[in-house]
């Protein structure tokens, strides 16, 4: 057993660190570090920088432009980017739909879509959830009826993250209502500019526009946009959900947030002394720090095992989001009464108004409420527990 990174891994970390240091635009990093609002341009700019370096799709096979990194390298990359305040690479195209197209897509789909995903020319959205189909994903109702060379799509998707920017959306649609619910599902790639598509914002608790409802009314989709076989969508959906596991723990970002929390608690006073020296508060911070230390080793254990991460990876989702949420909670508590002032305009980096309270307090409560999503999305933490219970414990 050796818990040290190899020389090569350490060198790789240095390489990533100095690349991120030299190339991550300061205005973008500032937004991430201070929880300012990010726009489409911020994500796309960073992704194009990574694309130029050849690092935007490390999870892809080499022949498609991937990096063939080891899981540990991938983790180092995620950790360094997260720690430095790089925006998260939008997963919908690069991490989610691309592997599905690579494995199950047609020659044309591969040739047309993959380069556009790689270069961030197309912004993708995920069309899985529906109003009546959350954790029970196989119950999707959005209908796609074959008419000649096209499908006609009717229905509604929801919780579509940043769908307002999307050029394309991958959807689970029902193509057959007469068979078992898992068997009547197909996987369609739909152009967001198609007539009949309406995007309506859902405003979340922080009054931000991050998610959307997407309505499909008689939308004509070329049959060439069907991935793989009709009726096999559920298989592809499961493949997609099981594909991306390494980034889920968000260790780098949580380390960064922990450091910021400690810095904030070092500035805030309680009884005339820094809050971080108050044993009651300090020990709560330590409890999260300890959990994060454990999480990092648990993640490395999963990544180092010779076998592909299985259902144990659900631990990473549960604990990773526990830690993220605990950090936002403590940060909100650390700023005390300055958690109250709510000024969404102050989250715009260009805003020049007079601040209220310390800058770090401005978004603390908003982020806390925003992060309630983490234990719900990507398969709620209860679903993760079901997975472990059935697949690992055999209950």
């Amino acid at each position: 057993m050796d818990l040290n990174y190899t020389k090569e891994e350490q060198a790789f970390r240095e390489e990533v660190r100095s690349f991120v240091h030299d190339n991550l635009p300061k205005d973008i990093a500032d937004k991430v570090l201070h929880h300012k609002r990010l726009g489409k341009d911020d994500w796309v700019r960073w992704q194009k920088i990574l694309f130029k370096k050849g690092w935007v799709a490390p999870n892809w096979p080499k022949e498609y432009g991937g990096c063939a990194w080891t899981p540990i390298q991938q983790h180092i990359f995620d950790e360094e980017c997260g720690y430095a305040g790089a925006p998260r690479v939008m997963p919908f195209g690069l991490v989610m739909v691309a592997p599905v197209i690579q494995h199950f897509g047609s020659k044309w789909q591969k040739e047309y879509f993959l380069p556009r995903i790689l270069s961030s020319e197309d912004w993708w959205a995920q069309g899985y959830s529906e109003p009546g189909s959350g954790s029970d994903l196989a119950s999707v109702k959005t209908r796609a009826v074959r008419q000649g060379d096209h499908y006609i799509v009717d229905g509604q998707k929801t919780w579509t993250t940043l769908g307002q920017y999307a050029d394309m959306i991958f959807c689970l649609v029902r193509t057959d209502t007469t068979v078992k619910k898992q068997e009547g599902i197909s996987f369609l790639l739909i152009d967001m500019k198609s007539p009949g598509i309406t995007v309506r914002p859902i405003i979340t608790l922080d009054e931000e526009h991050e998610v959307n409802e997407v309505f499909f009314d008689n939308v004509k989709v070329p049959a060439a946009n069907l991935v793989g076989d009709e009726g096999k969508g559920w298989t592809y959906a499961k493949f997609l959900l099981g594909h991306e596991r390494t980034g889920i723990a968000r260790v780098g970002e949580s380390k960064r947030e922990l450091e910021q929390l400690k810095a904030i608690a070092g500035k805030q006073l309680r009884n005339g002394k820094p809050l971080i020296e108050d044993p009651r508060f300090r020990d709560r911070v330590t409890a999260v720090e300890v959990e994060l230390m454990a999480l990092e080793i648990t993640l490395l254990r999963v990544l180092s095992s010779r076998t592909k991460p299985g259902p144990e990876a659900s631990i990473l989702k549960i604990k990773g989001t526990d830690v993220q949420q605990a950090l936002t909670e403590l940060t909100m508590e650390a700023v005390g009464p300055y958690a109250l002032p709510f000024r969404p305009e102050a989250r715009d980096a260009a805003w020049k108004g007079e601040p209220v309270g310390p800058e770090y307090a401005a978004s603390a409560a908003a982020v806390y409420f925003n992060y309630r999503k983490t234990s719900i999305y990507g398969g709620s933490n209860e679903i993760q527990r079901n997975i472990i219970s059935q697949m690992v414990l055999g209950l």
């Binding site: 050796d2 080793i297 631990i315 079901n386 414990l393 209950l395």
Partner: protein, 377 residues
């Protein structure tokens, strides 16, 4: 980065695991605990034969020059069997105190005997008012000619009565809580003036209050540097804590396995109770507690060797915090999920819960290590 144990390590683990599974079932353990000594000489001799008692010591001292990871592997298996033999007090804590603080002559006199199973040690560190603070030493060792005279009261000394030799912390200078002025002494438990009040512990082990009245020892009884034993005491204690964490992980694994098995077999309302989601999710949380604790026990077993004392202290304390909390949570949930059977002394589950709770109360509980973690920042 790899989490793979060497062939030798796997062999060590497997052979011990097999031995305990075969010879150390719940009924066998009950029989071992019952007599006054509270453990089995036969098991101890077999541990010696298996080479377990010298794992951590140098070959020059009759050992196998193993690492802290080897000790971790052994302790995890002992935890899995809630083994009551004095491995922790003799080999881990007593042995490492002698190994870290002792002169070459002292090591030669003690460690080979320990490795052969001929000598038992106990570490008499805590006192009635010290809780878990190693610097809190009121027992005195007054200079007396060439030697010393010891007076004081050491509390909850694990396996104190069965020990042949005691490692005792005593004050040779300074006030009751001062870091400086502590020295270690190695002396015979049977020395004149040593009074032992032995008792059972709730987790099936033995311990004792040991009182020293005018116990005379020679200058050669001093273990390590006079007046400056605290750093080495802390190092040995950290090693011992990392071993306890490993033991706890073994106990958690066994207790979880027993609980999950019970959930699969116990029928109510015509179905196994493990089919109820309310219980499934609690079982998953038990499993996650165990896996996170295992991660920190692994980390502690490596970082306990760190040259940087703050890194060592932080990692070990982090592990002990996590294990204290997880051990309590798993113990309580295991009892609850076993229903009425969980509170019966006839079932192994409760005995695991007892051991896990007592590990928290050994060498620093959660609160203690929270404070220590902060002080090592």
């Amino acid at each position: 980065m790899d989490f793979i144990f060497s062939d030798e390590q796997q062999q060590l683990r497997d052979s011990l695991q097999k031995y305990i599974a075969k010879e150390y079932g719940f009924e066998a353990r009950k029989a071992i605990i019952a007599p006054k000594q509270g453990f089995s000489d036969k098991v101890w001799a077999q541990f010696a034969d298996m080479g377990l008692l010298g794992v951590a010591f140098d070959e020059a001292h009759g050992g196998f020059s193993g690492t802290s990871v080897d000790t971790m592997l052994v302790m995890t298996e002992l935890g899995r069997g809630i083994v009551v033999e004095p491995y922790f007090s003799t080999v881990v804590l007593g042995g490492s105190l002698v190994d870290l603080a002792g002169s070459e002559a002292q090591k030669q006199a003690v460690l080979p005997e320990v490795a052969q199973g001929k000598l038992l040690l106990a570490a008499a560190l805590g006192e009635p008012d010290s809780r878990y603070e190693l610097n809190c030493v009121e027992t005195t060792a007054r200079r007396d000619g060439a030697g010393y005279v010891l007076n004081g009261h050491k509390a909850v000394v694990l396996h104190g009565e069965s020990a042949d030799k005691l490692v005792v912390s005593a004050r040779t200078a300074g006030g009751a809580r001062e870091a400086k002025g502590i020295s270690l002494f190695l002396l015979d438990r049977s020395a004149a003036g040593v009074a032992v009040q032995a008792y059972r512990t709730i987790d099936g082990m033995r311990a004792a209050e040991i009182r020293f009245s005018n116990v005379k020892v020679g200058a050669d009884a001093v273990l390590g540097e006079t007046d400056n034993a605290l750093p080495v005491l802390e190092r040995a204690a950290d090693f011992a804590v990392s071993a306890l964490c490993a033991e706890a992980v073994g106990a958690m694994e066994a207790l979880n396995a027993a609980t999950f098995e019970y959930l699969k077999t116990r029928q109510q309302f015509g179905r196994p109770i493990g089919s109820f989601q309310a219980l499934q999710h609690r079982a998953v949380d038990m499993m996650i507690h165990c896996e996170q604790s295992r991660s920190l026990a692994l980390l502690a077993s490596v970082k306990v060797q760190s040259e940087d004392p703050n890194e060592r202290k932080r990692t070990v304390s982090a592990a002990k915090i996590h294990i204290g909390r997880s051990g309590r949570a798993i113990g309580e949930e295991a009892i609850q999920l076993h229903g009425g059977m969980g509170v019966s002394n006839e079932l192994a589950a409760g005995h695991y819960a007892k051991r896990l709770a007592m590990i928290n109360a050994t060498l620093g509980d959660v609160e203690h290590h929270f404070e220590r973690y902060a002080s090592a920042a």
